[in-house]
């Protein structure tokens, strides 16, 4: 039954969206929920069928697409992509389920289903071109969601989002073509298969150039400082569901791509750029946290907090050891859950008051205690409270990077301080104090539909914070294989040293308890 599960997973939502055109408007929500639920169930089946002990790709499917140019429809997953896929289907489900009253709900739901296809597609693709297809295609539904349902600046925001990321990915595309060209030079055949590219050992200077080319694509998507300015606009203007998906899944594409492309293909360049990227990450962490602190709009606080957290993820990725990379992959999921939930929570208030300004809020804790509780849990998760999902990722990321640099980690570690500052400040402004705004006095607490979305997120937040093993273990195994690949491929002695061989450590780790 698992033979074509990935293809089914990718194309089922799109197909369903096409069929959805004929569904009557009043029933579309049920249809959307049903489709998303099936998709989510499929992804759980995938998880069930995934063999955590196997190193390497699973459920691989291959189909020649443009064989003359070495492009194949090649999909497969490992522990790194598995959970982001589950996360994507999960968020689509709760996103559709919790959708408030919006105009043109049919368009919205169908767009979301298309978006789901592209999201899943990105994470299953093992061919660079297929990856690129989904990568770019994901911009389109998002553009529509921001542009059609967004705030007053929605058009500016959506165009900026689209063009900025588009520009970056085009540079990445050139890098991919170079990679294919080098592969052609080396082997005489064209190939865009990532797994084939892994086998290519490039000289360091080429690695550096290619790394830079890929970096533009990824960094803008992440977004890394100083390419982050599209994000506040996109989030600020997007409707709740748009922000949720954007933060939870789309941003992860960038960091995922670092793990999937940059690290295993350019180990030496990764070492070469480790410090600069770490510095950028630290700027992201501290600087954006400060900017978040200065925000007047709670959604912008969450938006900038995303950037800040993505800094930790990038840092963990460039720890170049199993601990750090596993942590960063885990943090991708964690941040997806937490920031997704936070955006949803902001949306809850926005639905009621149609404002996101902190100055409009205040004292909400007494009016909406459940809302405040859930918000508080997520704020604390975002601030990296142990036993919440975020902490595991942040801890491991920082722990991993500590191996590479003490001082940079200490700087990056300020994430837990600055993160607490802006989050708590915003939380205080919004929820504490007395109700000063009359309009807030009679707000309803979270309703059933919203709880349906939020409670699972809370549960996941705590569950994976307390017991991350079911997720962390497969991630860790896959990361181990990537790191050992990097270690083997590394040319320069520095890279050999910086990237430890996890296989060797495994031998000693046997007797750890």
């Amino acid at each position: 039954m698992f033979d074509n599960i990935l293809s089914i997973l990718v194309f089922f939502p799109a197909l369903a969206a096409l069929l959805g055109f004929v569904v009557e408007k009043g029933s579309i929500r049920a249809y959307g929920i049903a489709v998303a639920a099936i998709e989510f169930a499929l992804s759980l089946v995938l998880w069930y069928g995934y063999d955590a002990s196997v190193v390497g790709m699973q459920f691989m499917e291959s189909l020649p697409l443009i064989s003359a140019f070495g492009i194949h429809y090649l999909v497969g997953i490992d522990g790194i992509s598995l959970f982001i896929i589950v996360l994507a289907t999960f968020f689509t489900l709760i996103g559709i389920a919790s959708l408030g009253e919006v105009n043109r709900i049919k368009d919205m739901i169908l767009t979301l289903l298309f978006l789901e296809m592209t999201m899943v597609g990105v994470f299953v693709a093992l061919d660079a071109v297929v990856f690129y297809i989904f990568w770019e295609l994901s911009l389109v539904p998002m553009l529509y969601i921001i542009g059609a349902w967004g705030g007053p600046l929605r058009i500016y925001a959506s165009i900026k989002f689209f063009l900025y990321t588009f520009t970056g990915s085009l540079i990445m595309l050139v890098g991919m073509l170079f990679m294919a060209y080098f592969y052609h030079q080396a082997t005489g055949v064209w190939s865009f298969s990532i797994l084939e590219w892994y086998r290519l050992v490039l000289p360091e200077n080429l690695q550096i150039w290619l790394f830079v080319a890929f970096f533009f694509g990824f960094a803008i998507k992440v977004p890394m400082f100083p390419f982050h300015t599209w994000l506040p606009y996109a989030h600020g203007q997007a409707p709740t569901i748009g922000s949720v998906i954007l933060a939870a899944i789309l941003l992860k594409m960038g960091t995922y791509a670092f793990v999937r492309f940059s690290l295993p293909m350019f180990p030496d360049a990764s070492v070469f750029f480790m410090v600069p990227i770490a510095v950028i990450s630290i700027i992201m962490i501290i600087y954006t946290a400060m900017v978040a602190y200065a925000q007047e709009d709670i959604k912008q606080v969450v938006a900038y907090s995303s950037v800040s957290h993505m800094g930790v993820i990038v840092l963990g990725t460039f720890a170049l050891n199993v601990e750090g990379i596993s942590g960063s992959v885990f943090l991708m999921i964690a941040h997806g859950v937490v920031s997704g939930a936070l955006f949803m929570l902001v949306g809850v208030y926005y639905d009621r008051r149609h404002t996101k300004l902190l100055s409009e809020m205040g004292g909400l804790a007494s009016v909406m205690p459940h809302y405040a509780t859930i918000f508080g849990i997520m704020v604390m998760a975002s601030a990296g409270m142990p036993l919440t999902i975020n902490f595991v990722g942040e801890f491991l990321s920082l722990l991993g990077f500590y191996k590479q640099s003490h001082i940079l980690t200490i700087l990056a570690g300020t994430a837990i301080i600055v993160g607490a500052i802006y989050m708590l400040a915003a939380f205080k402004k919004a929820f504490f104090g007395t109700v000063t705004n009359e309009a807030n006095r009679k707000l309803d607490d979270v309703n059933g539909r919203e709880l349906f979305a939020l409670v699972p997120l809370v549960l996941v937040t705590v569950w994976l914070g307390v017991y991350p093993k079911p997720v962390l273990e497969p991630i860790s195994n896959s990361v181990t294989s990537i790191v050992s690949l990097m270690h083997e491929k590394a040319i320069t002695p520095e890279a050999k040293e910086r990237i430890p061989n996890p296989m060797r450590q495994d031998a000693t780790a046997e007797g750890r308890h």
Partner: protein, 626 residues
């Protein structure tokens, strides 16, 4: 024994979660009773474990499940009940049970009754995790957990701006220290390969001295935050915004002592790095004095007690820093009892005075609040270190330690501090309970607290009286199984007696002075104009300094980062590139002016350009070729 361990650990959690279900609902007495009884269960289980340990049983060590495992890293949820942790467990469960019961009365009228108990029990759970964990990561979980609960409880009355501000301050300041702790953990992991205590302590002897120093420093930074050591001390006084039982439990008895516990726990490490230990001791002594001095003039009852807590924490660090870990732990225990008692008494006073905190607006309360008066006086006597109450045994022991270890400066400082302690404690007692009934001017109607609250306090009162006297011996026997069993005896009996009696005399003098001065206190305007008063009253201007030179610049810098840097530079660059292209288009698309002549001219111009380039190339070519 594992069952008891789990019971002791998880029954507070169960209580908390159940109470949380009712969190947003109006008061249900049930939650208070339930959490209290579950804590009672925890107390009983802890006692069983204590008995087990006391009766020479081996330490109980369980590994519940894996928490994080990746690469080389393996962190389980492991719990360890040994002599040290069981002491802490007892302290925690006893005080918290008392506080829970007490709170049923204290929070009687509060809207957030259920929420309060939920958080309070959650705190106990976190604290239990903190003390029971068998590894640093678990400790860190508890560490952050108590921080979280402390945040929630300080800011319990969230509608008060000052309360939520204080909560955030406490949280963030603790976070600063936690970063240090986290770095300490990283250091341990990358040098030892594990975060388990036993593995680490085994490896301590093999590690480089410089690394040990680093680890020691970073862990202590963590301890400084929780235990509010200078310069991270300001949050503790502000934390008094929380309900008084919270202050009793968290900010006196348990959480703030976590730092001391950490140092005690990590004693094999600090044994190896006496220099760091000496630094800790010095800082402790400084804080003891420093905090006591601020308590002298304060006019907020709870803050005075908070400063006294701070001061006593300083004492504990002196002991811990000098290697007298068991002494530190002993003082920790004793202090927990009498300080919690003191706070609860203060709570009674506040209750009856409608949350008035200024002792200058009280006076003569001993008539209406007899039992409270008795218990607070007992606690103050214990705090002042008068024989035979608990404080005498624990605190004077620290003085002895300093003396025996030949740290005479520390000794002197501590001795002076002991006097100050006695002074401010009885200043408070005198102001509240003695003298004329000033409260009448403010229209208060004092009344004694509920009887069950007083009964709830009574175990603490008892312990404050007897814990030093009765427990010292058996305690020593027990903890020295895991802690260095150094006995601190002043060898010359004459010196010993001079010291003991001298100290008692000095303290007695201080008490007498306090009574004399404040029994019929008027606010001394002249005194308040003095510089030294102002400095002390304003806490050495440290909060102002933080506000002015850290918070404000951070705020302003954030604003600049957003408005100037992010919007004006980073974003403007992006938009600038886009608008440059667009403007170029706008400027140049007029070359398409629709006039055919212009179009033809462009064509000719293009051709001419090509020709010119051709000629130029030819010339260049012939130059190169020729």
């Amino acid at each position: 024994m594992e069952l008891y361990l789990y019971l002791a650990l998880f029954s507070p959690l169960a209580g908390s979660l159940i109470a949380a279900l009712f969190g947003a609902q109006p008061k249900t007495l049930f939650t208070g009773l339930l959490t209290s009884s579950l804590l009672g269960l925890s107390l009983v289980s802890s006692t069983v474990l204590l008995v087990h340990i006391l009766s020479g049983g081996s330490a109980v060590h369980v590994e519940m499940m894996t928490w994080m495992a990746t690469g080389d890293l393996y962190i389980p949820f492991g719990f360890l009940v040994d002599q040290v942790s069981v002491t802490m467990m007892m302290v925690v469960t006893v005080v918290s049970t008392v506080v829970h019961v007490y709170s049923i009365g204290y929070m009687h009228h509060d809207k957030g009754f259920n929420r309060f108990f939920s958080w309070l029990s959650a705190f106990v759970f976190s604290m239990m995790v903190l003390v029971m964990s068998d590894n640093f990561a678990g400790l860190f979980i508890g560490w952050e957990g108590v921080g979280l609960c402390s945040w929630a409880l300080i800011g319990f009355w969230y509608h008060k701006e000052s309360a939520s501000w204080a909560a955030n301050e406490a949280f963030i300041m603790n976070r600063i220290a936690d970063l240090g702790m986290l770095i300490g953990l990283f250091l341990i992991y990358w040098n030892v390969g594990s975060l388990q205590y036993d593995r680490f302590f085994e490896a301590v002897t093999l590690l480089d001295q410089s690394i040990l120093v680093m680890i020691g420093i970073f862990l202590f930074i963590g301890a400084m935050g929780k235990s509010a050591q200078f310069p991270l001390h300001t949050w503790l006084a502000d934390a008094m915004e929380g309900p008084t039982p919270v202050s009793a439990l968290i900010h006196a008895a348990t959480m703030v002592t976590a730092g001391v516990y950490l140092v005690v726990r990590a004693n094999p490490l600090y044994e190896m790095i006496p220099d760091v230990g000496y630094f800790i001791a010095s800082l402790g002594a400084f804080v003891a004095m420093f905090a006591a001095s601020m308590a002298l003039v304060n006019r907020d009852m709870k803050r005075i007690i908070a400063y006294s807590t701070l001061s006593q924490l300083g004492y504990m660090f002196v002991a811990a820093g000098l290697g007298a870990y068991w002494v530190a732990l002993f003082h920790l225990m004793a202090h927990a009892f009498f300080k919690a008692l003191l706070f609860l008494g203060a709570g009674n006073v506040m209750h009856s005075m409608s949350d008035e905190l200024d002792p200058f607006k009280m006076g003569g309360l001993k008539k209406s609040m007899k039992w409270t008066w008795i218990m607070m006086t007992l606690a103050s006597v214990a705090l002042a270190g008068i024989w035979p109450l608990a404080g005498f045994f624990s605190k004077d022991l620290i003085l002895e330690v300093a003396f025996v270890e030949h740290h005479y400066v520390l000794y002197t400082v501590l001795l002076l501090t002991a006097m100050l302690t006695a002074f401010y404690s009885f200043r408070l007692i005198a102001l509240i309970f003695h003298g004329e009934e000033r409260y009448k001017e403010y229209g208060s109607h004092p009344h004694e607290a509920y009887t069950f609250m007083l009964i709830a306090m009574s175990p603490l009162a008892l312990l404050a009286v007897i814990s030093g006297f009765v427990f010292k011996g058996s305690y020593f026997d027990m903890v020295t199984a895991v802690l260095p069993a150094t006995e601190y005896h002043v060898h010359s009996p004459i010196v010993f007696w001079i010291m003991v009696i001298g100290t008692q005399l000095l303290v007695g003098l201080a008490i007498a002075f306090a009574y004399k001065k404040y029994q019929n206190a008027k606010i001394d305007k002249v005194f308040e104009e003095r510089l030294c008063y102002k400095i002390l009253r304003n806490q050495y201007y440290i909060p102002d300094f933080y506000e002015e030179y850290i918070c404000k610049p951070y705020r302003e810098l954030s604003y600049v980062a957003w408005k100037q840097l992010d919007l004006r530079i980073v974003d403007a660059t992006v938009d600038g590139i886009a608008s440059l292209l667009y403007k170029t288009g706008e400027q140049t698309h007029t070359m398409q002016n629709g006039n055919l002549s212009t179009m033809l001219r462009w064509m000719v111009a293009g051709t001419v350009l090509l020709l010119a380039l051709g000629v130029a190339f030819t010339v260049g070519y012939s130059v190169v070729a020729g």
